[in-house]
């Protein structure tokens, strides 16, 4: 035994000395293994850290640890990363309370949040529609005026609104001129052009007061349709119980307004959606330029994105112009002339000049915009407190419309900038069910009655879109009739209506949306699509999934439980994809390393043929030679692999202190905040060593085979 150890000693000694003697080989081979070890440790640690923080993002923003849905569903549940695709085909869970009670029997379950995820395509209000509506109401007021004072006041209103409409028409006239310059003349309907020119003419406005209703009708029918400034908006929303949601997802915080009170209808915008999609675009771009220059250290001069935003602000002043009535036009002209020291009278040109910002004047212009201009503008297309009319296709293909008051905006702490985490808005469960087409028995009867009365016909999901957007019938009576199911007359748009008009129906509906309180029982005992489950011990996801499904069976429920990663759909897959990429990269690097190490070892072995022959001649068995080479490889592997892994650990822990800043909003989600703080996993160090040893072993095979074949006779050969 001791002699055996002594042999191992000499083997090791020879191995060490050989390594030292052929330094170049050792450095090449060692260098590769060093970087291999570094890559495995640092890369895997980084990835594990991303997975861990991403899981916090997914779990903390909507998925919870586990999602539960009906096992009978045709599709699998995905709560994140869905874009404009249709809703997955999920079977409903009939009674949430029953599901919740069943889940809470499972030991590890902390809380359960009811959910339903869907989306609706909506168009936001058209500026000219609103302006015309105001003009019409002013004309009506003048018509109905009883006293002189009333008449004078109404006359002033009419004049102001007329100014606004004229302003809009002149913008449209400008558009038309531009269109003619850019597009083929023939593609523009000459009747449209004639209508705009007529509406822009002094004669039209001089005659306006003679036949105001006729003129209004002309504007509404011939002009409003041409001012296509209404954007299509796709809102994704989760129907949920706000109180349960907020308690379970404690990263959620209200930014503006308040949460929706228990039992009430209500809508909370994701702050990100609110800023990104509902804010006046010029203002949004100013915000982004400010963010870029002040927080990300970029400059307008060098960053192409910021440059583009400045360009868009200069060329897209129309959005602001449309909001200006006569008084505001005068006000803006004066302010901008002063600010710019300009004599220009055209507000559009003044705005374009104002938005032509550079790194020097940007901050001043930004402040000026928010202090002087913004107060006169509608910065958001929907304000907190407005009632939102959301129309969606129910599962049976009807178009269902629900009015929900907007209570505020919310965001998830640390994920403020993440598009992914900020894509879902929140809606109360009752409204969600109505939009999705879940009906209580009572409601169903009511609807069937209405249907008969209105002569509605069944519309399949496939052609519901055509039904909704296809016909450009007269103004939307549906929006004004409470609880009315879309019948054959469908409005041209499904607007986010800020102003439901002064009609009695509108008022009643708004009132109902604001004040009606649904009993807790109706909220809880209803249908949901899925439920998020928060666990006491998040490490036991797998076991809990099994337990949940088993408990469901005992309680007569067909529950399917999936972990957050599966629920995150594509985003969950994303991590696997990165991991695959890393593994493939490691594989390729190690394959290359294998080849290079192999070559270096073959060269070294060929150089040592005589020495090996001598050893064989003086009585060394083949296995001694093999042991010597293997020890050499292992020593190199361990030392350099160890150094590489060590540097990896050091690097990761240093970076773990400083953190890696998230460059773009996508990374906020994967980093679960503004910075990623990577950490070391011991398994990665073990993996690094295993891989390094494996590569060392594999790359030694061929050279070892060569060495094995060296005969003792080769010791005698004289190299001439």
């Amino acid at each position: 035994m001791r002699a055996w150890l002594a042999t191992l000693g000499v083997v090791a000694q020879m191995a060490f000395r050989n390594l030292f003697a052929s330094r170049l080989k050792t450095i090449i081979v060692g260098g590769i293994i060093f970087f291999g070890g570094l890559l495995v440790v640092a890369g895997n640690s980084l990835l594990d850290s991303v997975v861990a923080s991403m899981s916090r993002s997914v779990i903390g923003s909507v998925a919870g640890h586990i999602q539960v849905y009906n096992a009978k569903s045709k599709d699998t549940l995905e709560v994140m990363g869905r874009m404009m695709m249709g809703d997955p085909d999920l079977s409903q869970l009939d009674d949430f309370a029953k599901v919740r009670d069943s889940l809470l029997k499972v030991e590890n379950v902390k809380s359960v949040v009811p959910m339903g995820i869907s989306g609706a395509l909506v168009t936001s209000g058209n500026t000219i529609d609103l302006a015309l509506e105001k003009l019409r109401s002013a004309v009506n007021a003048r018509h109905d005026a009883k006293t002189d004072a009333q008449r004078v006041e109404a006359e002033a209103r009419v004049a102001s609104e007329k100014g606004h409409v004229r302003q809009i028409v002149s913008v449209l006239q400008g558009d038309l001129k531009n269109a003619k310059a850019v597009l083929d003349e023939r593609t523009i309907d000459p009747a449209d052009g004639a209508a705009v020119n007529r509406a822009a003419s002094d004669a039209f406005w001089q005659d306006f007061d003679k036949e105001p209703f006729e003129a209004l009708e002309f504007l509404e029918n011939r002009i409003a349709s041409q001012a296509a400034d209404a954007d299509l908006l796709f809102l994704n929303y989760i129907g949920t119980d706000f109180q349960a949601f907020q308690k379970s997802f404690d990263r959620m915080k209200i930014v503006e307004g308040t949460t929706v009170p228990a039992g009430k209808r209500g809508f909370l915008f994701a702050k990100h959606v609110y800023e990104e999609q509902l804010k006046l675009k010029a203002a949004r771009r100013l915000d982004q330029i400010k963010e870029g220059t002040e927080n990300e250290g970029e400059t307008i001069a060098t960053d192409p994105d910021l440059k583009r935003m400045v360009r868009e602000n200069v060329s897209q002043v129309r959005e602001i112009l449309l909001q200006l009535d006569a008084a505001k036009t005068v006000d803006f002209r004066a302010k901008l002339q002063r600010e710019l020291g300009s004599q220009e009278a055209d507000v559009g040109k003044l705005l374009a000049a104002f938005f032509q910002t550079d790194d020097q004047n940007f901050r001043e212009r930004y402040d000026f915009f928010y202090k002087e201009l913004a107060p006169s503008l509608e910065l958001y297309r929907v304000r907190i407190g407005d009632v939102l009319t959301i129309k969606a296709f129910t599962r049976s293909g009807y178009v269902q419309s629900v009015n929900v008051p907007v209570y505020g905006t919310f965001e998830f702490q640390g994920l403020e900038k993440s598009t992914l985490a900020g894509a879902l808005n929140l809606m109360d469960m009752v409204s969600f069910r109505e939009l999705y087409g879940f009906m209580s028995g009572e409601k169903l009867a009511e609807i069937q009655a209405l249907q008969k009365a209105a002569g509605a016909r069944e519309v399949s999901r496939e052609n519901a879109e055509a039904e909704l957007f296809g016909s450009k019938a007269e103004d939307a009576p549906a929006a004004k009739a409470p609880r009315r199911i879309e019948a054959t007359t469908t409005p041209g748009v499904a607007p986010v209506m800020r102003d439901l008009g002064e009609s009695l129906g509108g008022k009643l509906q708004r009132e109902e949306a604001r004040s009606r309180v649904f009993p807790a029982d109706e909220v809880e005992r209803g249908v949901v699509l899925n439920a998020a489950v928060i666990l006491k011990n998040p490490k036991k996801i797998r076991e809990t999934i099994v337990a949940i499904e088993a408990q469901g069976k005992r309680d007569g429920l067909t529950l399917k439980a999936i972990d957050w990663q599966a629920a995150a759909g594509l985003i969950g897959q994303f991590v696997n994809v990165i991991r695959m990429v890393l593994y493939v990269a490691i594989l390729i690097i190690f394959l290359i390393a294998l080849v290079i190490i192999n070559n270096a070892l073959v060269m070294a072995t060929l150089e040592r043929v005589k020495e090996i022959g001598t050893l064989r001649a003086i009585g060394a068995q083949r296995r001694f030679i093999l042991a010597m080479l293997v020890v050499e490889s292992i020593v190199v592997g361990f030392i350099f692999g160890g150094l590489g892994a060590g540097l990896g650990v050091l690097l990761v822990s240093v970076v773990g202190k400083i953190g890696i800043p998230a460059k773009s909003d996508v990374w906020f989600f994967f980093f679960s905040g503004p910075r990623l703080y990577p950490f070391i996993g011991t398994s990665n160090i073990v993996a690094a060593f295993a891989i390094v040893l494996l590569v060392s072993a594999f790359s030694s095979f061929y050279p070892a085979w060569i060495a094995m074949r060296v005969t003792p006779r080769q010791a005698m050969q004289e190299e001439e």
Binding site: A6, M14, M716
Partner: protein, 240 residues
């Protein structure tokens, strides 16, 4: 006296592609214990081939080679290696020291391979041999720091460290000048006398043959005769 080496009608053919090169064409030779035998012959006459057969580095194509009573043709490659390790010592023409080991480590190497002695025993043997070959001061040196003669002395010490019955030396002085070569032969001769080790060495150098007990002459793969060094010298017209 007992024969430690017994070669009977040994034939060795090498094949180079399709050509068969006869290196030995039936050599019969006995070497007794304690002999100090020279194998002489011109280049290509088969000296190295014969020594390889005796040294169990190669086996004959036909005929037999017995070393220490063992027929080499019946031994496996592993057994041949063991025979080399325990019974034979090798001295090479170009010394063949392991360049990465020190002088002492080179000498100790066969003992480590043998795995018979303890560390102190090995150290004791190595230092005694260092003393014996006159390299006491050089134990920690590297081979590259030594002269040719010193290196060959290290090689001799390495060959003798296991106290083999037989030491083979293939042209041990070919890479040395004549004075150094003579010293090496003197050393071998002395060890032969004191340690009773059998030496077989090859040479084509007349002055080297002079040290031997007997000279076996080879020509063209055949044993010509076995003569005294004096006879060999006389035939070549050189003083003994």
């Amino acid at each position: 006296m007992k024969a430690i080496v017994s070669v009977r009608e040994a034939v060795k053919n090498y094949t180079l592609g399709n050509v068969v090169v006869p290196a030995l064409r039936g050599v019969t030779l006995d070497v007794v214990e304690g002999d100090f035998l020279a194998i002489a012959g011109p280049s290509g006459s088969g000296k190295t081939t014969l020594l390889n057969l005796i040294g169990c580095v190669d086996t004959p194509t036909s005929g037999s080679v017995e070393v220490a009573g063992k027929d080499t043709r019946r031994l496996s490659e592993r057994e041949l290696t063991d025979l080399r390790l325990h019974t034979i010592g090798f001295i090479f023409q170009s010394f063949n020291l392991v360049s990465v080991l020190t002088v002492s480590q080179n000498i100790e190497l066969p003992l480590l391979l043998q795995r018979k002695l303890t560390g102190p025993e090995r150290a004791q043997r190595v230092s005694a041999l260092l003393e014996r070959v006159g390299l006491r001061e050089y134990g920690t040196h590297r081979p590259s720091e030594l002269s040719g003669g010193q290196r060959q002395r290290v090689a001799i010490a390495r060959a003798l460290v296991t106290r083999p019955q037989l030491v083979l030396a293939d042209e041990p002085t070919a890479n040395l000048d004549s004075v150094t070569g003579a010293h090496i032969l003197d050393l071998m001769r002395e060890l032969n006398r004191t340690e009773k080790t059998t030496f077989i060495f090859s040479t084509h150098d007349q002055s080297v043959m002079a040290h031997a007990n007997a000279v076996v002459r080879l020509a063209d793969g055949k044993l010509v005769d076995r003569v005294t060094p004096a006879q060999a010298a006389a035939e070549n017209g050189l003083p003994a």
